[in-house]
């Protein structure tokens, strides 16, 4: 245990210099079609200076890059294949639009369906009162000085068990705690998981009251989806100064480790590195 504490105290002392993203990282294929038209679209939309990171491609011959958006709910993804013209997928107002080029290199745009991971859950419960979308995210980030968005799923037991601990830690560090839940989980699964959690210490009636506090916030924010916060639970996003840090905390952590990461992320956000 002492060894762990020692490691984390070292961890705090090392200054962090993030190397987050790069501009135009896609391969510059000589035979890439419609290069100038593609660059024109990037410039016209003020996307040319955006910083991008690698994304998992949809096939072996595709390279995909997503920008590190500074605007909540507004994202672009560039997809490139040798011999073909590049394509750009733009997310705005919770809708995807794909820009491509025809054989004359004229720009075409069409609505893109939701990724299938989301379609199953987003379309079923469009009007769910508990839905928590990009508008909610914008409100929280703009109206709260600093906070931690805790994304959990009843299907990942540790993400449930850790809710009270992370809430306590966030409050101790002066952060608002905003739990949001996996939208693929059913209401029964969510309430069941929370009841089991709170039953450990409380009476059933009290546990239901506590559980109800967390049932809300069914995360249908596409912004959090684009941040890749969908592959594992829990993940925690740290925000302050009106911006969300591009890195998130994956998995359950000890208080010491999580505190160190949160403080590093807050410090990055303060100096504008993220």
């Amino acid at each position: 245990m002492k060894l762990i504490v020692l490691f984390f105290s070292q961890f705090l002392l090392i200054s962090i210099k993030p190397l987050f993203g790069s501009t135009k990282p896609w391969p510059q294929f000589e035979n890439l079609k419609c290069k100038s038209e593609f660059n024109k679209v990037l410039i016209e939309n003020k996307w040319s200076e955006e910083k991008f990171t690698n994304q998992i491609p949809s096939s072996f011959n595709q390279s995909a890059f997503r920008n590190m958006s500074q605007k909540i709910g507004d994202w672009i993804e560039v997809q490139v294949k040798a011999d073909l013209s590049p394509e750009i997928v733009h997310l705005k107002d919770q809708k995807f639009k794909r820009f491509s080029f025809n054989s004359q290199c004229e720009v075409l745009s069409k609505d893109e369906s939701l990724p299938w991971h989301l379609e199953r859950v987003y379309n079923k419960k469009n009007n769910d009162m508990n839905n928590w979308d990009d508008e909610d995210l914008k409100k929280v980030v703009s109206q709260t000085a600093k906070g931690l968005i805790y994304y959990w799923s009843p299907k990942f037991a540790y993400s449930v068990v850790d809710i009270p601990r992370v809430e306590k830690l966030a409050k101790r560090l002066g952060l608002s705690f905003i739990p949001v839940v996996d939208p693929r989980a059913s209401e029964q699964e969510i309430s069941g998981a929370l009841e089991v959690l709170f039953n450990k210490e409380k009476k059933l009636s009290q546990s239901r009251a506590l559980a109800s506090k967390y049932i809300v916030n069914r995360n249908v924010s596409l912004d959090l989806y684009m941040r890749n916060g969908f592959n594992h639970f829990p993940v925690s996003f740290v925000f302050s100064e009106g911006r969300i840090h591009s890195r998130f905390i994956t998995g359950v952590m000890t208080d010491a480790g999580e505190k160190a990461l949160i403080q590093n992320y807050l410090s990055d956000l303060k100096v504008g590195k993220k």
């Binding site: 998992i56 995909a64 993804e77 893109e112 990724p115 299938w116 592959n231 994956t250 359950v252 000890t254």
Partner: protein
Amino acid sequence: MKRLNLFLILISSFMIENLWAECVPAHEYFPFNGSWVSRNDNGEVVLGMYARMSPDGKYVLRSFSGKGLTQVTLMELVKSSIPNEENSVKPYETPLKNEAFPVQGSWRYIVDTNGEHYRIIDIIKNQKKAKPQFKGGITGFYTVAAELIGGRASSHQIRSLSWPSGTAENQGVGVLSNRVIEASLNKDGMASKTKNGTIEFMCKNLRSSDGDAMSLPMISMDGSEFASMPQNPRDGEASMRIYKFSSDQKSCEKILDLELAVSKIIFSAPELNMVLFYASGAIGNRGNGVYFYDREVKKTFTLDDPNRNVHADSFPGFTKDGRIVYGAYWQDCLNGKCVEKAGYVVSDPYQSQDIKDYMSQIGESGKKFKNCITTDEVKKVSEEQAKVWTYAP
């Protein structure tokens, strides 16, 4: 003349053997059916979490697979011997708790979260009344383990990897550690621990580049490598990386950076040199959520069966022969009417469209991929595995 005849016989038998090598199906489906199957209030079949696949693809170790079942079950994938009859899945209940894990590579044991090692035959025979053989290894959370290469029934080493820190209320991701224990089977096939090993904290040598806090660890089938995603690296993006355990069990050698932020990755048998992961990839709806990455050509490939509209629901696993097993939802359609099914899918990555495209478009390096996994290869692995599970010394 006799020599020439012998040569011709040898050549023709080699050709016949290869011509007759039968490919496994590109995709095999094992739907959940039976009174043990449950649905959530969204009407979806409950598939469960934390799947681990046995080397022969016969069993899936999984938690929360249905209300009427124990927390952890061993799910047997039963292939129908009757033509046109559906395959099925048979659950075996266990006394194990959520996130119990197998000793990968050999699957000689399944380990409970408290370190108790169970034999597979005991679970199959006695189900939730099965008794453990011995206790050992790391007892942290998200633990993974593998049998080190060269193990025999009479003497084998098991490496476990996790974060054995903190208490139940305050444990978590941080500095990784590993422990190597030794075990042995006696003449009756009963197992005992012969060496306890020590907990070794790891990767101090990479602190300046990868940081201290590692997430999503997974061990390779032979226990020589592990994958993990540093939470806040100093040398680039927070991406999944592969490391090698050193002989001192403490320092780590960075082997490969996938340069992608993914969920836990799963290793193939070392000779196949691939890893697998489940993720939401680039926008565009190609693939079923399961990706495999070839470490030699450094490319990511997708799996898909467009006729069935397959959607994987959790992370997959490799069999020793290279097939990919995963829980999924799919559609069975007949005359325009489709029925949604849920269960397990077994896919041959070499028969995926993405690999076929790669082989046809990329000349020389495409040759490294074979056309398919054969039934003989599957049979060989299955026989080897059956031998391990006899627990004969």
